[in-house]
């Protein structure tokens, strides 16, 4: 076969064809999310906006987990740690501003802040650092050991924040000062909604670019056959660690948004059950696909909202549904559409 342009652009097979069908469902969902606030005001149900924000924040968090789990094969059960670290960074800085007590008075004075341009970078860097440290240790293991060690780190951080009585311990802490972007107060729900929506689009774009890059080729190779990659000269540990830190940072972004949206942070934001929920979302939506985590978060929150209106023990119903769903579909929502010939899978 000669190396014509036609064959060059086609060398990963039919799943990369830009068909309309491939983008139909994701596009539909994104458009629906884009106009949800208008629908909410039409039907006069502001609760819809809250639900939409929750779906999108979880979608960002699930996407970041999908980056290492779906593409990189690193099954982490401690991913909520990075959401929580960022959320707490926002909460703690806020507490110190609200109580007029510097966060640090020696060797230099660090005051609290509610300015999103300061708070968000600090929070995301905190998550990135946490990911660097946790990844540095955890990635020396793999498989079941990796699952357990990430879970253990998550629990450690959980109890660390529980033990911080100053910031509410078990109960967490309310954000006393409203967050600001410059002089604009971030209190308008609709405004927050569109910040989250834009961030989600940005995150999906970013992940898609990385996954399709040279780095992405190595990352997905790590999942398929790490030994092969080592044999051709990749130090796979370094690649996995970089991916882990990227994922932790993106989870940090969702943590900042979470704190902003709920005006409140608590240890439950990084409970291991939250980490588990993220994995469940991937299982529902389609692991290793760009849009699967969004569909998974959407389905998860809708289940939660609907079932919760019937009974507070909604998980009793959700559990069996989840089991049937995972047994009944291959590769989540996107995967099952794929097998119906919709060709929706984003990546190989």
């Amino acid at each position: 076969m000669s190396s014509t342009n036609a064959t060059e652009s086609n060398h990963s097979g039919p799943s990369r064809r830009w068909t309309a069908a491939k983008f139909a469902l994701p596009l539909l969902v994104l458009i629906a999310l884009g106009v949800l606030p208008q629908i909410a005001s039409l039907v006069d149900d502001p609760f819809l906006v809250r639900v939409g924000i929750r779906i999108m924040i979880l979608a960002i968090a699930a996407s970041s987990l999908n980056f290492i789990l779906g593409y990189g094969g690193m099954v982490s059960l401690g991913h909520a740690a990075f959401i929580g670290v960022a959320a707490y960074a926002v909460g703690i800085l806020n507490w110190h501003l609200g109580n007029g007590e510097p966060l640090l008075s020696w060797p230099l004075v660090i005051e609290g802040s509610a300015n999103i341009w300061i708070v968000a970078p600090v929070a995301i860097i905190a998550s990135a650092l946490a990911a660097l440290i946790i990844g540095f240790v955890s990635l020396r293991t793999s498989g079941l050991h990796f699952i357990m060690i990430t879970l253990a780190f998550d629990q450690m951080l959980y109890y660390f924040f529980v033990s911080l009585q100053k910031y509410g311990g078990d109960d967490g802490t309310q954000l006393i000062e409203p967050l600001r972007a410059g002089t604009t107060e971030l209190t308008n729900r609709i405004f927050i909604y569109y910040i989250v929506f834009t961030t989600l689009l940005g995150v999906l774009f970013l992940i898609d670019r990385i996954v399709e890059s040279n780095f992405g080729l190595v990352l997905q190779g790590c999942r398929q056959n790490e030994r092969r990659l080592t044999a051709v000269g990749y130090r796979t540990y370094n690649y996995k660690l970089v991916a882990f830190v990227i994922a932790g940072s993106i989870a940090g972004v969702s943590g900042v948004l979470l704190a902003t949206a709920q005006q409140f942070v608590s240890p439950s934001d990084l409970a291991w059950s939250r980490s588990g929920e993220l994995v469940i979302m991937l299982a529902i939506g389609g692991v290793g696909t760009l849009f699967g985590p969004v569909l998974g978060a959407l389905a998860y929150v809708l289940f939660e909202v609907v079932l919760e209106s019937w009974t507070i023990h909604w998980q009793v119903i959700f559990g069996p549904i989840l089991v049937l769903f995972v047994l009944g579909t291959k590769g989540g929502i996107l995967g099952s559409l794929e097998s119906f010939g919709w060709g929706l899978k984003g990546h190989d």
């Binding site: 060059e8 040279n214 080729l217 990659l229 080592t230």
Partner: protein, 253 residues
């Protein structure tokens, strides 16, 4: 074909009480095809694993072109030019044949941390990968997932990946393992075409292949080298005959 490319000095590897590599001095010359033969359990794969850097020797040294590489891990040796094909096929199954090769080319070029450009539009990377597929006659299967290739094609792909590492030494761990007659002949032709381009260490059970390809042969028994020499010398060596080849079975050499 004079200076040594790969050497081991007093190489020992023990697994508990078992000595899998026993005080082995091996010299593989530049651009020669050096076959290592021996009965099952002679420690051939253990030797390859140590040469590739997957397994640490208990004692002794390994040199690549005079430079000691004993303590370098597998990825670092690959960068220096030690490439291997696995005895049991080891590929990225979801990737197409050409993507498997592109991964190796990319490793060699050191572009693995680029995060922005679309790798599949990297013409130069894929053009170079295609050349290696051409070398092993797999170019027309470039876009097929590695998992869907026929077994013989997967073995050819292994060789293409190893070649894409621009190897100074190519470690071929039973490239003919599990192949049918036709596939074996194809592989022998392929390796013959590569002879002289690079140094090859060939571990192989198939004596037809060994005698067709090897410039020199080392015979391992219980981890020890009992003879090294030209194919004709090995075939005539009485020690080798009794230990391995069996009396009267090597008339062709």
């Amino acid at each position: 074909m004079t200076k040594p490319m790969l050497e081991t000095k007093s190489l020992v590897r023990r697994f508990g009480g078992l000595v899998a590599t026993d005080n082995l001095d091996l010299t593989v010359l530049d651009c020669e095809t050096h076959a290592i033969i021996g009965p099952n359990g002679a420690g051939k794969t253990t030797l390859v694993a140590q040469l590739a850097g997957e397994l640490k020797p208990t004692s002794g040294q390994i040199f690549l072109a005079g430079k000691q590489i004993t303590d370098l891990p597998m990825a670092a040796r690959a960068k220096l030019g030690v490439a291997r094909s696995f005895q049991i096929t080891s590929l990225c199954g979801e990737y197409s044949a050409i993507e498997n090769v592109a991964l190796a080319v990319q490793a060699h070029r050191g572009h693995g941390f680029r995060m922005w450009g679309r790798v599949r539009s990297d013409q130069s990377l894929f053009a170079s990968a295609r050349r290696y597929l051409d070398l092993v006659n797999l170019a027309d299967r470039a876009n097929v997932s590695a998992a869907l290739l026929a077994y013989g094609e997967q073995r050819q792909l292994e060789v293409a990946i190893a070649l894409a590492c621009e190897p100074r030494v190519l470690l071929l761990d039973e490239p003919m393992a599990g192949m049918g007659r036709d596939e074996s002949l194809k592989m022998i032709r392929l390796l013959k075409s590569l002879k002289g381009r690079t140094t090859m260490v060939l571990i192989e059970h198939d004596m037809d292949a060994v005698f067709a390809l090897a410039d020199r042969i080392t015979v391992l028994v219980y981890g020890r080298s009992i003879a090294t020499g030209l194919p004709s010398e090995i075939a005539a060596n009485p020690l080798v005959r009794s230990a391995y080849l069996g009396e009267g079975s090597v008339s062709r050499a």
